[in-house]
């Protein structure tokens, strides 16, 4: 039955793809989710989605990946884009310097709209076009280090590092989530409610757990 399929995973993680127009976001998505690459791809209009289920440390994780148009003007329209995203892959094109310079702009965008705990990775895509390179790998590493991001050079065309990029993000998200779950268990254990195996709602950290420390 088709409706059962949706529940056959332990975790669902939403990841967003961001970066300038034409850097290869849609092809990264299709390479990861369908193992396809299309030289004749079209510009993305609005938002598109795809999913793939992978194993992370023995757990079944469904990665729901959101792809969007690179044009800045679409940001305002697709406000739902960042909502609930726990990971982001920020892509630039190693043959187009400007797309790398704009990484700062995208980071700002993330700071403004995404959850502050979002797991971030930067990808310098089109590494197969080494002869047209205008951003060195060192420059990529330098920015990543400065901004505290993981970093890989990728090629959706040659399927280089695409798996690795998503696996890295998913692993990291999983660690955060399982650490939280562990902390919640410990909290529950010390809260002395014996014999109750029910779910403990740890609440949304950004929500009602806020105390009044800043209000004065």
């Amino acid at each position: 039955m088709a409706h059962r399929v949706d529940h056959e995973y332990d975790y669902l993680f939403k990841i967003v793809l961001i970066g300038d127009s034409g850097v290869g976001k849609s092809n990264i998505l299709s390479r990861f989710t369908r193992n396809e690459f299309c030289l004749e791809s079209k510009s993305t209009i609005g938002v598109e989605f795809a999913t793939r289920t992978v194993q992370v440390e023995g757990k079944t994780v469904k990665a729901q990946i959101w792809d969007t148009a690179g044009q800045e003007r679409y940001r305002a329209i697709t406000s739902a884009y960042y909502r609930g995203a726990v990971g982001a892959l920020l892509v630039y094109d190693i043959t187009k310097r400007q797309t790398f310079d704009n990484v700062q702009r995208w980071l700002r965008e993330l700071r403004d709209h995404a959850d502050s705990n979002i797991v971030l990775m930067m990808a310098g895509n089109k590494s197969d076009l080494n002869h047209l390179r205008s951003v060195s790998e060192e420059d990529g590493h330098a920015v990543a280090e400065k901004e505290g991001l993981s970093f890989l050079e990728t090629s959706a065309l040659e399927a280089t590092n695409i798996e690795k990029a998503f696996q890295t993000i998913l692993n990291e998200i999983y660690h955060i989530v399982s650490k939280k779950a562990l902390a919640a268990q410990e909290a529950a254990a010390s809260a002395s409610i014996p014999g109750q195996g029910t779910t403990i709602n740890v609440g949304d950290e950004s929500g009602n757990t806020k105390t009044a420390c800043c209000s004065t």
Binding site: E40, I45, A69, I77, T78
Partner: protein, 289 residues
Amino acid sequence: MFGKKAGTEELEAFYPIRPECVAEIPKTRFKPRAGKTLSARRWQAAFSETGCLDIAKVLRRIQRGGIHPSIKGLVWEFLLGCYNPNSTLEDRNQLRQQRRERYSMWKTECRNMVSVIGRGNFITTPIITDDGQPIEVEGCRVTSAVSDKKVAQWMLILHQFGLDVVRTDRALAFYEDKANQAKLWDVLSIYSWVDDDIGYVQGMNDICSPMRENFRCSTTSIGVQSQLGTLSQVIKTVDPQLHKHLEDLDGGEYLFAFRMLMVLFRREFSFLDALYLWETGNVGNGVQP
């Protein structure tokens, strides 16, 4: 069977597809139907001696069976509201002439700022920095720093057209020719200069591609967000179960339909079918019968 096949091939000849792309694109379902589709003969018969058009007669036909590809361009001029059906042939010739002159004037105005416009070439990388300093780009030089805000904003978006133009309707043989890609780029560039309120949203290239010359006449709606809201309301009323299902899948915002509405199903159907859909669906939007 042979006859049928020949018919489709004949149809495709109006908008030839690159042979290597045939397998990847949606199949065209539109077929001209005798007595229903507006044919060249019927079209010509709908004009009076002075050249006034009996638009009501024509519209009925288009709604029933679309327009034969051989006359699409001519009929669309009326559908898009470029001409009043009650105008005479002479009126229209004059108007066309005026519009061509105006377009050429705009083109010159744009070319004086960015030399590559109207020269069969285009750019895909920025020509100025965010603060208006010229960036050297092969074949296109901005000579001095740009301080005017309108000019700067326009120049900053030009390479985006380039990035999208190379990705527009690549399956059509027409766009194999770089000069034709450049024509689309010219139209988008000039349009965004003239109508800087709307400017450019990715996807306009898809809308513009079928109508290149007539683009100025058409209107592009950016109110997709509110249309999605309407769609959601409609489905909720018409098919509550489907709406519930979509909500369960976390699709209650109908974002999946964004592209369909944004580019009016251009991506879902073949080139010809999209035109067919537009002409039957949009009939009456630009014309007052």
